[in-house]
Amino acid sequence: MPTRFPLTIRLLHWGMAVLILAMLFVGVGMLSTAGPAYAALLSLHRPLGAALFILVVIRLTIRLQTRAPPLPEDMPSLQKAVAKGSHVLLYAAMIAMPLIGWAMLSAGGYPVKLGPSFSLPPLVPQDLQLFGLLRTAHTLTAFAFFALILGHLSAALIHAFIRRDGVFSAMGFGRSRAKSSLSSSEVDG
């Protein structure tokens, strides 16, 4: 059994973590101002969001073809289920956020501009009510995503500093210190 995620997954995890947090901060930050930063941040937000969509597709493809290290044997099964469920939700949010962003601009009749002369085609037909729904969904999903990340971060730190059970180093780059405590019976991830 592997004790760590494949290197590509680990690189993608940390790279995307930085970019996703940046997107959430840019998102709420741009709406807090009507100054020049609004226009500048919004034109950064769209291409960065689109790039994250490509990254999550690559990440999921690799993830489904490789093996993940099992969670520690002594972890209660409810906790394991929560851990796995929250990871599924994190993936769902990573896929949903860019798609909602793209669809909502399409429904609102906006060009989906990623650069000075590059735009995406509309994802859905123009429709005011649908725009309203998707715009609300973009906000609610973003806040749920952020809450999920806070919980995920807390759990990761508990594994790293309190349980010290090798879960953190499964996503890390240093030497794994807690190999022995990892289960050898779990096959899935």
Binding site: L21, F25, G29, S119, L153, I162
Partner: protein, 352 residues
């Protein structure tokens, strides 16, 4: 499990808490107050009252369709595709200023024209213009202050004179605008008004050279005016009925003129007009063919955010431009989650 050390517990608690606080700061919920599009929309609602489903400004409108016939001259200033000689489809919206979708047309307020011009590749350009060459304020902060100060008192229908006087003492640019609009002719039709970009933009030509410009659409229909002393006698939907009626007799046209700034002209102050002798390039004719109520047209379900620009046109440093973008977005979002009601024109057509 080993006994956790206090430092470990501190780290586990502090890191997520710090991230949450930083997020709240980025969003402007804690820390120094920032003015966002939502606060601007709030100020407009404070001034104009609550009209769910309608635009927070320029609420009363009429949709139209037409074409922009470019003569090719604009290509010397901007590489935007719609300046190459040819015909480009247009839709747009006539409107009067204010948040009330059923306000009377007998008011000395902005008459406005909004456009979307589409290039053959599907690139779009949105323009939202008023019938004055200048704006009452230069900054979003002053815009919000003015909305608050000029809120009509429900009892008198007029702004509180003391509040307004205090505002004007700090904003000579608004006073200058008021003097201008008091003296300027008020067109008696949408068809014979000149519509101005007011804000400056940047045109980039095919060699990559950038110039600051403003533009206007000048009517081919000769100007006739409303008597400002007798505005009370103007029928409620005069401007809107007039425009629909005119178009049943044939198209109405405007000439688009680009004005190029000279060095030293203010490019980030919408309250100051440029001298009239500036280099002007006529780039084509806007022809409007048909008009109809918003509920049956293309114009209601988009926002004419003036920062939606094709390649070859960019933003100037005018602080009103990003503020407009943020405010239009907020207004659009609000009315999209509300149910749009009938327009004034739609109502009157339904009644006939």
């Amino acid at each position: 499990m080993k006994h956790p050390r206090p430092a470990a517990i501190a780290a586990v608690v502090a890191a997520p808490a710090a991230l949450a606080v930083a997020f709240a700061w980025a969003g402007g919920w804690i820390g120094p107050k920032r003015l966002g599009g939502g606060a601007i929309a709030d100020a407009l609602e404070y001034n104009g009252g609550s009209h769910p489903g309608y635009r927070r400004a320029h609420a009363k409108g009429l949709c139209f369709t037409g074409v922009f016939e470019a003569n090719g001259a604009g290509a010397s200033l901007s590489r935007a595709a719609v300046f190459e000689a040819g015909s480009y489809p247009v839709f747009g919206r006539f409107s009067t200023a204010g948040g009330d979708p059923f306000a009377t047309d007998g008011r000395n307020v902005f008459h406005a024209m909004a456009l979307q011009i589409t290039s053959p590749e599907g690139e779009i350009w949105r323009l939202a213009m008023d019938h004055t060459p200048i704006f009452p304020v230069a900054t979003p902060q002053a815009f919000v202050e003015l909305q608050r100060a000029s809120r009509p008192d429900p009892a008198t229908g007029k702004p509180d004179p003391a509040v307004m006087k205090d505002y004007l003492s700090r904003h000579p640019e608004t006073k200058a605008y008021q003097d201008y609009i008091a003296a300027a002719p008020l067109p008696d039709s949408f068809a014979n008004g000149t519509y101005y970009s007011i804000n400056a933009f940047r045109f980039i030509d095919s060699a990559g050279e950038a110039r600051a410009v403003r533009w206007s659409f000048e009517p081919e229909t000769p100007l006739t005016v409303l008597d400002k002393q007798r505005l009370k006698e103007v029928p409620t939907d005069h401007l809107f009925d007039d425009m629909r009626e005119r178009l049943t007799h044939g198209p109405v046209r405007w000439r688009m003129k680009i004005v190029v700034a000279a060095p030293g002209d203010p490019k980030s102050d919408a309250t100051i007009a440029w001298p009239s002798d500036r280099r002007t390039v006529e780039t084509g004719v806007l022809r409007i063919d048909r008009a109809g109520p918003e509920e049956a047209g293309l114009c209601r379900d988009v926002t004419f955010d003036p920062t939606i620009l094709p390649a070859g046109i960019g933003l100037s440093d005018d602080p009103l431009l990003p503020a407009r973008s943020a405010a239009y977005s907020s207004s659009f979002r609000r009315r999209a989650v509300e149910t749009p009601g009938p327009s004034a024109v739609g109502k009157s057509l339904g009644a006939h």
